[in-house]
Amino acid sequence: MGQIQLNQVTKRFGSVEVIPPLDLTIEDGEFCVFVGPSGCGKSTLLRLIAGLEDVSSGHISIDGVDATETPPAKRGLAMVFQSYALYPHMSVRKNIAFPMRMAGIDEAEQNRRIEAAAKALNLTDYLERRPGQLSGGQRQRVAIGRAIVREPAAFLFDEPLSNLDAALRVGMRLEISELHERLETTMIYVTHDQVEAMTMADKIVVLRAGVIEQVGSPLELYHAPRNQFVAGFIGSPKMNFIEGPEAAKHGAHTIGIRPEHIAVSAESGPWSGVVSVSEHLGSDTFLHVHDTGLAESFTVRADGEVNFRHGDRIYMTPREDVIHKFDAKGLRID
């Protein structure tokens, strides 16, 4: 069980209110991702749930029990830190055993869980090593192992993949997703990387300046962003925003069109511009277009075979059915 409920939770550091009153429910077994630019309060929110920071007001309940005043150790949550936070003076085995040792679990049971976790995380050969003798990915797995053996009500991940290189990150992302499928335990995952959010989450919470901008499934956020901020944050490359007469035609202050929803041709189309940079990814080509008369910068995601170069004039046709419309305040118009 691991339902977590935040009720009018606020956090102030001195006179600065980093989290204005906030309500949020994370259902049991859900993979919930907090995403937002740096400084948006997502890590603070996670630390409030963990109990590492005290709330300034409001209530946090875990499985229906008020845990606002409960110390971190007693909340039944396990956390994986960005820096892994392994105990450098202990072997991998002792690191993983530590939470069980604190809980007073008998040694036979400890060993059983350690062996199981080590097997699941490919750490069996490294149990007697110290964290300093492991690679980044292995250390992260030890941190996850240490969290698993506690059999917590929920896992909290604080940007766990930021210190890994790109290839490892993709691998670990999959491992964490698989872990969630297997354990079916609530997971709360903080990241600034919207790709991680999109690929892993059941539910994404988009935060800006401590305020929840939108909560929804990855595809809800992608297809129906509630405002311009969410529209710009979710999706890669970023959505293009157009203001002025072109937007007025659609009866909006601003319209947004995703780079993948624009068709390009060398001959004709309602919009045109000059290619400044074309990035070939093999599967796709990202065209950065200027002189469109629509917006400062404009990005188009085209087929990998497309072969436009710097200085080429191209014509663009948007898919009318997926144009997002926003009013002057940046809110979605349906």
Partner: protein
């Protein structure tokens, strides 16, 4: 990356380092040499360096005249006791300042250090009176307390610096893992700070061992440590350089041996955090 150093440069550097090292070591060497001379050779002009009749006479006289073992025992108790007591008090203090600092933490640290700037003699009178009142004069316990207080700022500062090097996230992880404050300090913080704690211990044993002002002023016979033992050979009736040297050598020998064997620990502790 290593900086390129030319061969000549290396030789000059090495020679200079040796010269400085010898210069610093020379007084100790001279004391040790003098302790093996007769009183006459000790004051010979020009001084004799190595070519003299080596004798152990001074040592036997010193051993006969004073109870070396009693002074040694007092030194061990006072230096060891004040250091251990200091560490016990300083660990929680340094912990709270390093991990839950308040607005005034910096000020408190500076204030503690500022007490070291006060000349000790400034508080001799009140402390002496207090010692009389409390019956602590010439007791090991009294000296343990005073030396602990004298060195406490240094112990707290050193531990604070070492604790600061330990990432807070590791302690938070321990908290999440269910460790109580006591378990966090015992199983995580202390083992991680062992090199720092060890060098703090050593440095304070050395400081307390060599402390002369309070040990001389607050003791007479019962609790007098080795500093008083040395001082007893510098008398107004005349200086006995050779015997004084023998006494000094005997007084510094234990701490020298301790320092020698813990050299590695001391260096690694003092440079803790400098190299990751």
């Amino acid at each position: 990356m290593a900086r390129a150093v030319t061969k000549n440069r290396k030789i000059i550097n090495t020679a200079a380092a040796w010269a400085v090292g010898l210069l610093i070591f020379f007084p100790i060497l001279w004391t040790v040499l003098t302790s093996f001379k007769t009183e006459a050779t000790a004051i010979a002009d020009p001084p004799v360096f190595l070519a003299f009749d080596w004798t152990l006479e001074n040592y036997s006289v010193v051993m006969e005249r004073s109870d070396y073992m009693r002074f040694l025992w007092n030194s061990v108790i006072i230096a060891g006791g004040s250091t251990i007591l200091g560490i016990i008090i300083a660990v929680p203090a340094a912990w709270s300042m390093a991990f839950v600092p308040s607005k005034r933490t910096k000020d408190i640290l500076l204030w503690m250090l500022s007490t070291k700037m006060l000349p000790a003699v400034g508080v001799l009178y009140p402390i002496y009176l207090m010692f009389i009142e409390l019956g602590l004069l010439d007791t090991q316990f009294g000296l343990v307390i005073v030396l602990m207080l004298i060195n406490l700022p240094i112990i707290v500062w050193m531990l604070y610096t070492y604790f600061k090097e330990i990432p807070g996230e590791i302690l938070e992880a321990a908290r999440m893992d269910g460790a109580s404050l006591r378990e966090e300090v015992l199983y995580i913080l202390t083992p991680m700070a062992i090199p720092g704690i060890a060098s703090t211990l050593l440095l304070n044993v050395i400081l307390a061992w060599n402390e002369a002002f309070w040990t001389l002023n607050l003791t007479a016979a019962q609790a007098a440590p080795l500093t008083a033992f040395i001082a007893s050979y510098s008398s107004p009736e005349g200086l006995f350089y050779a015997k004084l040297s023998a006494a000094s050598t005997m007084a510094i020998a234990p701490i020298l041996v301790l320092g020698w064997f813990s050299q590695k620990q001391l260096v690694s502790g003092l440079t803790f955090g400098a190299v990751k």
